[in-house]
Structure formats: structure tokens, C-alpha cells
């Protein structure tokens, strides 16, 4: 068997970290796009659309992310498609992220005073135009902090993709552990790398939130 030095372990983990970052970015961006679409549906006051988004959010917030990964992994295969861990992880994380972001953003939209809706309504703006020109520009300012905060959850969430065989940081940790039998070192490093990814975002989110509270 190969001998792994500390630097071998660290460099292998860092290489795998790239995939954690890529998967996080994809999930966050795609989840954000889907979440925005859901946000429009959720606040549309069209009963069927609101009902659909409520069920969607309930499901993705009320079941373990791990189960969602399994369901996508095995569910798509039922349709006769070949499913890579990549596809399943991307899809599950996207939908999971979107459900949470929609709820976060809905809170921000609802904190905009009713008068803004009424004034823009009486200026003949349609619902989409109200959102686009009046509500979202104001809501997005409040939304930055919790959105950045949630990105930390997304990064941590990608760790579960390891379970369906996606090789990212956690999976690399497991593989290196099996090869080196140095679990304490390997998992300490894995945790440390996650911390280095997540902590700056947590810190930033807190800072923005504080600044917003002062500004009010």
C-alpha cells in the first residue's frame, strides 16, 4: 500500500474541496433561480399556484435531504434514465435549496409595507411589474443577510452527496481514511476545510444583518 504523508492527505482533500465548491455553487445558483420562480408563485394570490408551492416547500423542508438524494437517485432510474451521482446530487440540492430560499425570501417580501402594494396597484402595475419594480428592489436589501447565511447550509448540505457516491470533500475524507487509517487526522482536516469555507460566510451574514439593524 502507498504511504500517505500529511501533505498527500491535505492536497487530496483540497482537490476534492473543489467539487464541494462547484456543487455548492450550482445548487445555490440553480436553487436561487427555482426559488425565485417559486417566490412569484407563492405570493401570486392565485390559489392553485400557492397551494402547489406550499406542498413543495412542505415536502422539501419536511423530509431529510438524505432521503431526497435517495429519491432522486433511485427515482429517475425508474424512468429508464442513467443517473449519475452528479445529476441526482445537483437536482436534489437544487430543489432542497429552492424550498428554503423561497421561504426566506417570502418573509422578506411580506415585511414590505402593504402600502407599497396598494400604491403600485393603483398606478395600474401588474403583479409581475409590482414585484419587479417595487417589491423586490426593497425586499432584496433585507434578503442579503439570510441568503448569505443559508449558503452555509448549502455547503454543509453537499456533504450528503458523498453518501450516494459523489466524490467531494467528505467522500474524499472517507476514502483517505480507509487508505491511511488515520481517522482523527483526516476528519479533523475535513472539518477544518469545511470551517474555512463556511465561517467567512457566516461571519459576513452576521455583519450585514447588524449593519441593516443599525440603518433602521
Amino acid at each position: 500500500m502507498l504511504q500517505f504523508s500529511f501533505w498527500d492527505i491535505l492536497s487530496n482533500l483540497l482537490i476534492a474541496t473543489q467539487w464541494t465548491i462547484v456543487l455548492s455553487l450550482i445548487a445555490f445558483v440553480c436553487g436561487g433561480i427555482v426559488g425565485l420562480a417559486l417566490l412569484f408563485m407563492r405570493t401570486s394570490r392565485i390559489p392553485a399556484l400557492e397551494w402547489f408551492t406550499k406542498v413543495y416547500i412542505e415536502f422539501f423542508q419536511g423530509t431529510p435531504l438524505l432521503m431526497q438524494l435517495f429519491l432522486f437517485f433511485f427515482g429517475i432510474a425508474l424512468f429508464g434514465f442513467e443517473v449519475s451521482p452528479w445529476t441526482a446530487a445537483t437536482l436534489a440540492l437544487t430543489f432542497w435549496t429552492s424550498a428554503f430560499l423561497t421561504e426566506v425570501w417570502r418573509g422578506c417580501v411580506e415585511s414590505i409595507p402593504k402600502g407599497q402594494w396598494e400604491a403600485s396597484s393603483s398606478l395600474a402595475l401588474s403583479y409581475i411589474e409590482q414585484m419587479r419594480y417595487v417589491i423586490l428592489p426593497q425586499a432584496s436589501r433585507i434578503a442579503v443577510a439570510p441568503t448569505v447565511g443559508f449558503s452555509v447550509q448549502v455547503i454543509k448540505g453537499t456533504a450528503l452527496a458523498s453518501i450516494i457516491g459523489f466524490v467531494e470533500l467528505t467522500k474524499a475524507g472517507t476514502m483517505l481514511n480507509n487508505a491511511t487509517f488515520r481517522p482523527f487526522l483526516v476528519y479533523s482536516l475535513v472539518a477544518l476545510i469545511y470551517f474555512c469555507l463556511c465561517f467567512p460566510l457566516s461571519w459576513w451574514a452576521k455583519k450585514i444583518e447588524g449593519r441593516l439593524n443599525v440603518a433602521r
Binding site: 402600502g115 407599497q116 403600485s120 393603483s122 398606478l123 395600474a124 411589474e129 417595487v134
Partner: protein, 242 residues
Amino acid sequence: MSLVSIRDVRKSFGANEVLKGVSLDIAKGDVVAIIGRSGSGKSTLLRCINGLETYQSGSIIADGIEVGGASTNLRELRRHVGMVFQQFNLFPHLTAAENVMLAPTVVNKVSKAEARATAAEVLAKVGLSEKMDAYPSELSGGQQQRVAIARSLAMRPKVLLCDEITSALDPELVNEVLRVVEQLAREGMTLILVTHEMRFARDVGTKLVFMHHGKVHEEGVPKEVFAAPRTPELQQFVGQVG
């Protein structure tokens, strides 16, 4: 032919009937002052006219458009019926000019340049030419309310609804807003105002409507009605507000 025709409108919030059969005819150029006690349904009536509230029975026809039907084209209606609110409701992320330009550019698809010219014109009319690029937070209450009026005017409305537009203002700022409204009235704008300014209602109004318990309790020419209220409720009300 009336510009706004309200026929036997009834409106309830749950079990609470707020409008109990209101009928009113408003002709082009009328300046209608609606007065009445708190809770008598003044705001609700006004909000029904531009579809911010729905009502259960009766009919409202504004500028030829039946309000409140399932197929009502609210967008078309609201292009011609403006509204100014007690709390101004300016868009805080936009400057005064941008507040005014928003609806013309977005709804009427007017070019930016043309909208800006209109904004300059209506802001001049309310006396705020030099505040075009100020944000609402940089303006006094009276100035904000005048921007809100200009914002409605930019859509060239046929009717302007005003709900207690001076009630949130410090007393010394009330007049600058009332003067703007008076000017509009003189230019022939059709106005429906809910107001607590009795003197203004009498001097500027062409028609006075006294609402009581969800009904039009008394109406007529302001000077006559104020001089000789027929019903004891209006007598008492006028006596109270002086």
C-alpha cells in the same frame, strides 16, 4: 352622463357590513368631499372605486368600466383612476422623479425621456421642480405627499381619489398640500376626497357627501349643507369638528 356612478353598493368584512347600500353620481369636474365619523366606511368606499377592495353587491362604473366584475380590466381602470394615500406610500428606493416616471414607463410604455419630461412638468405643478432627484427619505411629509400627487398626475387620470391625504402631516405642512389640490380642482380635475378639513370641503368642494353607518346620510352643495344640515347626525358632526 356621470363619470363615476355608484349604485347601491354593499360591502362586508366578514359579518361586519361596512357599506350598506351606497349610491352616488359624480360628474366630470366634480370635486366631491366625503366626510363622516371614523369607521363610517369612507375609505372603504374610495378603495372600492379603484378595485383595491371588492364589494358584494351593487355596481360601480368608473369611466365606463364596471368595477368589481370577475372580468374587470383593473389595469385599464387604474390607468384612469389615480389614488393618493394618507401615508404617501412613495417608493423609498426611487427618487421623486423615478417615483413619478415608474407607471408611465412600465404601464404606458412611454420612453424614458418623455416620462422624465412629464415628471418635470407634474413635479413643477406641485412646486417641487428642484427636488426631482431627492429620495423620499430626504423630503418632508408635505413634500412627499406632493410627490405622491404628482405620481398620480403623471398617468393623466380622469379621476383622482384622495384618502385623508393631509391627516398624517404636521399642521404647518397641511396647507402646501391643500393648495396643490385646490389648484387641481380649479383646472377642472375630477376629485373625490375623503377629508377632515371642513373649511376646505366647503370652499373647494362642489359636492358634499356625509357618510354615516355605511350609508350616504346627507349630500348636497357644500355651502348649503354646512349652513343648514338637515339631519341631527350631521348637525352633531359639524358641531363637533367645528
